[in-house]
């Protein structure tokens, strides 16, 4: 039996999700995994306050360092993301991001489906610069300590993977519920509804990690090539693209998550992805 590309990709996504969240037993107790793997970052978005999480979240890790007095930049996590990004680009989003898989499953829910309004895709770059790089380092209290602003004010991944499981298992946390959680819960609900309507809405509009990887898509070793001589301009590639890009005109668009659907939809093999 020959598996289709989409099935193979889904198997990789599920395996990556399972490896990133292998401490499922912790969900019942509300305890976090505290082993040595937490020294390392997950390549994709996965909250480290999720009881099942094996790795640290790269965005949270960057912010954790830059909130400290005298440490404006989290070099360790940023270097990790750049190293992974220059090799794989946004293939990380398409193959190993746990929240990417969640979004794809949400999109399978039957509903009205819409494409994204293109200018909204620039929001993620603003979130990256303002909430991940600037605010944690510059908006500080009287002791010079900042807050992980993206995690604190925006991130729906933290709310769904960390907040909800911990609130369900640790009653004392429920006494701390307030306006901030209401705002974050509203962002989560909005994100979930948007992901049901629009494929990978969070990736397209909100993900600062996807923004960083996307900026590296043009130069990443794993990249896409378009052969103009073979192309018959049928448009099948852009029709199947979950990120609403056109692989013919922009094979290395910052939005492309390298899922490979276009490559396999092309009737003349005019598109290919490889490490070159």
């Amino acid at each position: 039996m020959k598996l289709s590309h989409e099935v193979k990709r889904k198997i990789i996504q599920i395996a990556a999700f399972g490896f990133s969240n292998s401490y499922l037993g912790n969900l019942a107790s509300g305890r976090l995994y505290q082993g040595k793997w937490k020294n390392f970052c997950n390549p994709g978005m996965n909250c480290y306050s999720c009881p099942a999480a094996r790795f640290a979240c790269p965005i949270g890790a960057m912010e954790a360092v830059s909130t400290k007095p005298g440490s404006a930049v989290g070099f360790y996590a940023l270097g990790f993301v750049l190293a992974i990004g220059v090799i794989f680009g946004r293939a990380i989003c398409g193959f190993v991001c746990p929240f990417g898989l969640i979004q794809e499953l949400l999109y399978k829910i039957s509903s009205v489906k819409k494409r994204i309004y293109k200018p909204l895709t620039y929001i993620k770059y603003a979130l990256l610069v303002i909430f991940v790089f600037l605010m944690p380092a510059l908006v500080v209290n009287k002791y010079g300590i900042g807050a992980p602003s993206f995690c604190k004010y925006i991130c729906p991944v933290g709310t769904i993977e960390g907040g909800i499981p911990l609130l369900l298992t640790i009653p004392s946390l429920r006494t701390m519920l307030g306006k901030l959680f209401t705002v974050k819960a509203a962002i989560l609900v909005g994100t979930i509804i948007s992901c049901v309507i629009c494929n990978r809405f969070f990736c397209k509009v909100m993900c600062p990690l996807g923004a960083l990887y996307g900026l590296l898509n043009k130069i990443s070793i794993y990249s896409m090539k378009h052969d103009a001589e073979k192309c018959i301009s049928c448009g099948k590639c852009s029709d199947v693209c979950p990120m609403d890009t056109d692989p013919v005109t922009k094979p290395n668009s910052p939005e492309c998550i390298r899922c490979g659907r276009c490559v396999h939809a092309c009737p003349t093999c005019a598109l290919r992805q490889d490490f070159k």
Binding site: L32, Y33, Q34, K38, N39, C41, C47, Y48, S49, A53, F55, A56, C57, G60, A61, A64, V65, K68, S71, G74, F75, Y76, A77, L78, G79, F80, V81, L82, A83, V86, I87, A147, P148, C151, K152, C155, G158, T159, G162, G163, L166, L167, L173, M176, L177, G178, L180, F181, V183, K184, A185, L216, K218, I219, S220, I221
Partner: protein
């Protein structure tokens, strides 16, 4: 971006990334990340 320029950019960014990781390890960022990751981050879950 094609050919030689792309290869140069890849090497430069990868080298910079490795240097950043080494610098981060040198100044103790790993323990900061670890401490944050093994404790419940109240900000991350919307309570802090």
């Amino acid at each position: 971006m094609e050919g030689k320029k792309k290869r140069v950019a890849q090497v430069l960014i990868f080298t910079a990334a490795v240097c950043m990781i080494a610098f981060g390890v040198y100044r103790g960022e790993v323990s900061t990340v670890f401490t944050k990751a093994v404790n419940v981050c109240l900000e991350c879950i919307g309570l802090g």
